[in-house]
Symmetry: C2
DNA sequence: CTTAATTCACTAAGTAGTTAGTTTCATAAC
DNA sequence: GTTATGAAACTAACTACTTAGTGAATTAAG
């Protein structure tokens, strides 16, 4: 009789022969499952709307584990934010824009930013939620501070090279430029629901997305172009 | 003895002489107070984070009144959204951009959009919250549908006139343009908390705000300029 | 045997929404 | 001009359920 075995086949824990299928312990895997579930839940519903019990369920862990590993809902949220920014900044570094001529580098950055938002829709929602909470969680984060410095240096370098070789006009503020690059992609995507209604247009089909990317590249190229 | 009079001086209800200071009834005023408090609370905390009890308290009404006049938290939220869009679209119409030459009209629109967001910070948060909820509330709203049509006609008209008199290049999509105008202001403001940290710069002092507006005007003017 | 992973049963404080009324007021009948 | 009446404005107390977070025991692993 292995009737009770069916009660414990929660996951891919291929229940073995014995009476007691011993539950594997794996702290790292548990934490990963919590983080994955939390990212999803926080992105879907925001910090305030997210439910710890839902994270518990989706991560297939006992609720106590969340508090054991992460302390509180807010600390878990902070951790999720740090991981999200680490991911995007790491991906940006991998572009190796230093090796490209300025115009090509800038276009690649615009393209990348857009595609990253598209492929990682949680990112936008997490950032929105953190801003609703006035940056309370990342204010104290050293992780994020460090990531940002390196990134802005890269953008500044592209501008300097472009100015030097005459492809860009002079004195463009890298902070303003980067905010603009982010803005024209981010806003389109984060406001796609109200946007579809206001503009009476499907904003998320393939053609619309391609058109937006082209428009954004045009916007940025015209913005930096030498006269 | 008018000792009990002090108990009922909630508001500017200048308690008169008699024993029973009769509580003024004013359905319209009550609804206005609820709407004002709700707008604030929804904007501060999002739909999910907003608390009906807080609205009750700030509006100085009995909780039952909210359900009496608005039915539910969600219906109240929908109403707030409709009023918010009515406000911005009404203000835009008052600009009378049709009477200005195309370049001036467009610059005025960019300026207005930026200043409206600045002066009405709730607007951005309400829109964000509605998008987090996938546009569920305004999807069914006829009010918002009607407002949008008229507005987009105005933007389209500016572009047509500019193309005709040679100040703008041809074939600019008014939807893409308008999304961009909104984006470059909206993103800067909604993400100001995380932005201040990432860019290590004060984004909200007067000088920074002026600089951003100038940069945005430059961005849009270069985007539409005839070659 | 000791340490860490995991579970179970629980709590205290919210949470949107409701039940069952009382109070005010305009209108019309006396 | 005073008083019945019906409707709408307003109130207090409550309900059924959720919520983040815990105390203490149990079980696996080195």
């Amino acid at each position: 009789m292995k009737a009770d075995a069916t009660l414990t086949d929660d996951k891919a824990t291929g229940a073995t022969s014995g009476k007691k299928p011993p539950k594997k312990r794996d702290a790292q895997a548990t934490q990963k499952r919590i983080l994955a579930a939390a990212k999803r839940e926080f992105a879907r519903n925001g910090l305030g709307g997210a439910r710890v019990d839902v994270i518990t369920e989706k991560a297939n862990v006992n609720k106590r584990m969340i508090y054991h590993y992460f302390g509180s809902k807010d600390q878990l949220f902070k951790r999720i934010l740090e991981e999200a920014w680490t991911d995007i900044r790491t991906a940006e570094q991998k572009l190796e824009l230093d090796h490209l001529p300025p115009k090509a580098a800038l276009e690649k950055l615009v393209r990348f930013t857009w595609q990253y938002y598209l492929k990682n829709p949680e990112f936008i929602n997490l950032v929105n939620s953190e801003n609703l909470h006035r940056g309370a969680h990342i204010k104290k984060s050293e992780t994020i501070e460090a990531l940002s410095t390196r990134f802005m240096a890269m953008v500044g370098d592209i501008l300097r090279r472009g100015e030097a070789d005459g492809s860009f006009r002079a004195n463009i503020d890298p902070v303003q430029l980067n905010i603009t690059i982010a803005a024209i992609g981010y806003y389109y995507l984060t406001n796609r629901y109200t946007g579809s209604i206001i503009y009476k247009r499907e904003l998320m089909d393939e053609k619309a997305l391609d058109e937006r990317l082209s428009f954004n590249i045009e916007t940025i190229m015209r913005l930096v172009a030498a006269d």
